[in-house]
């Protein structure tokens, strides 16, 4: 059929169709549209925003503004939510007579709900800011400015914003991948996003690095950010190579640069609401469920854990688990307490610090008994790379709509974390630690 058309008409059908369509359009257009396209305000803005020398500084400045807006404006609200739920938990545990029920309601349910809700302010502010950039027409231009770099890394121009947002929190970062059209490019961006060192990991670096790295603490913390970026680039290139699904080049860059427009409050709010509520519905339920499971593992067997004044984590299933999998982490120099801390870090990475406190390793001196500078650095790297936090996993599932990719992210994270930590310990060993 298509051969026949080509033979008869001398061109392929799709070319002819497109030409005819535009022929009709260009016949109608002069009747309804008069005059030449004037030099608009939009063109003038582009002369500055896409200027050879100004383009990149403008790009970086706008991103920085969005980043600060998202995380600075929302921080007090998140703190407030954290505080309210902490209070609610205290009230619940005091007013419920049954000890087990009180613990379930206070630590499991209310704690779980709180850990979902603290993400609402940054997510809603991020979507608000992104909607403004999108509706104003700048988002397409940002992709235009940065596409070259991202293309070289096996990603798409539109992958840039998600990666940068990941430094604040991987959740909005992963949710921002929605602007990427081609599914392969989008999923690849999601897979490497957790390697961007989010703000929840910083307290762990500061805590461990401050205790065991001495004068190199700041350099150690800084190196984690660099390590994350390097690994993200390497993984993106590697996945492109070895996973058949990602084979080939990033998709074509055929993008209209729309006229700049003043975003309306109404449409910006609508965008924000629509996307934010989706997060709550899908990711929220998963996070809540998993928090309850982890609560149960750390609170039972009840009698053993709650025999003294303070809960004894070592006697819980989590403590048992820590001891059981400790041998696996021996080569990295992590003891059972470090293992338990990593287990809890799975809920949210900042919990690693709290867990060390609960296990009696809250101070620098105690930490130095567990870690030397090399194993401390290995632990920091492990914290950076292994399993993204629960909320992030929830969002990865929600955004990829696939257990396969969700499980893959978790597994490759753990394997890579182990590998890198092992490498650090190995190299440190050769250098005499």
């Amino acid at each position: 059929m298509s051969e026949k058309i080509k033979e008869l008409l001398g061109e392929e059908a799709e070319v002819l169709l497109a030409e005819k369509r535009y022929e009709v359009i260009s016949r109608i257009l002069p009747k309804v549209l008069k005059g030449k396209k004037p030099l608009t305000r939009s063109d003038l803005l582009d002369k500055a925003f896409l200027n050879k020398y100004l383009g990149i500084p403008v790009f970086l400045a706008l991103w920085w503004a969005l980043f600060r807006f998202t995380f600075d404006v929302s921080a007090p609200l998140s703190d407030l939510i954290d505080m309210v739920f902490g209070r609610l938990g205290e009230i619940a545990s005091m007013s419920i007579q049954n000890e087990q029920l009180a613990s379930f309601v206070a630590d499991g349910l209310i704690g779980g709900l709180g850990s979902v809700l603290v993400f609402i302010p940054p997510i809603f502010f991020l979507f608000f800011g992104l909607a403004i950039l999108e509706d104003s027409g700048y988002l397409a231009r940002a992709a235009f400015v940065v596409d070259r770099v991202m293309y070289k890394l096996g990603l798409h121009g539109k992958s840039f914003i998600p990666m940068l947002l990941g430094f604040g929190c991987n959740i909005p970062g992963i949710m921002a991948t929605r602007t990427i059209d081609k599914e392969e490019d989008r999923i690849l961006t999601i897979l490497v996003n957790p390697l961007m060192s989010c703000s929840a990991r910083l307290p762990v670096y500061v805590f461990i690095g401050g205790a065991v790295l001495g004068g190199y603490a700041a350099a150690g913390v800084y190196s984690m950010y660099i390590l994350g970026i390097v690994l993200a680039v390497l993984m993106a290139l590697l996945f492109r190579r070895i996973i058949p699904y990602f084979k080939g080049k990033p998709s074509a860059f055929i993008l209209e640069l729309p006229m700049y427009a003043m975003p309306t409050l109404r449409s910006t709010l609508a965008h924000m609401w629509e996307r934010g509520v989706l997060f709550l519905k899908k990711a929220g339920t998963i996070i809540l469920l998993a928090t309850v499971v982890i609560w149960a593992l750390s609170a039972y067997p009840w009698g053993a854990v709650h025999s003294g004044d303070e809960p004894l984590i070592e006697a819980s299933y989590v403590g048992f688990l820590g001891h059981a999998i400790e041998p696996i982490f021996r080569p990295l120099g992590f003891d059972w307490r470090a293992t338990v801390a990593l287990f809890f870090g799975f809920v949210a990475k900042e919990i690693v610090v709290d867990t060390f406190g609960v296990l009696g390793l809250g101070g620098a001196e105690e930490l130095q008994q567990v870690f030397n500078p090399v194993t401390g650095l290995a632990f920091m790297a492990f914290t950076l790379i292994y399993i993204p936090c629960l909320a992030t996993i929830g969002v990865i599932y929600r955004e990829t709509n696939s257990w396969k990719w969700t499980v893959f992210t978790v597994v490759y994270g753990v394997v890579l974390a182990y590998f890198v930590a092992f490498l650090i310990v190995g190299i440190g060993g050769m250098l005499g630690y």
């Binding site: 535009y22 396209k37 990149i56 235009f144 400015v145 070259r148 770099v149 074509a252 055929i254 640069l257």
Partner: protein, 77 residues
Amino acid sequence: MQKKLSELKTGEKAIIIQVQGSGALRRRLLDMGLVRGTEIEMVRKSPLGDPLEFLVKGYNLSLRKMECENVYVEVKQ
């Protein structure tokens, strides 16, 4: 003078002669209005040199150089 679209200089105007390339990419280019006889102007390069921005049919379109390799044009004097 005939050229590839990727070879146009900033500010240069041309008429599209032919769009080549594989199925999906070609269809996409045609859909965006890059059909025979259309006037196209190279507006600017991205600050890093690639992609390129064109003015075609009154709107601004951005394409990577690689995608422009498939489009042949006749430069207007």
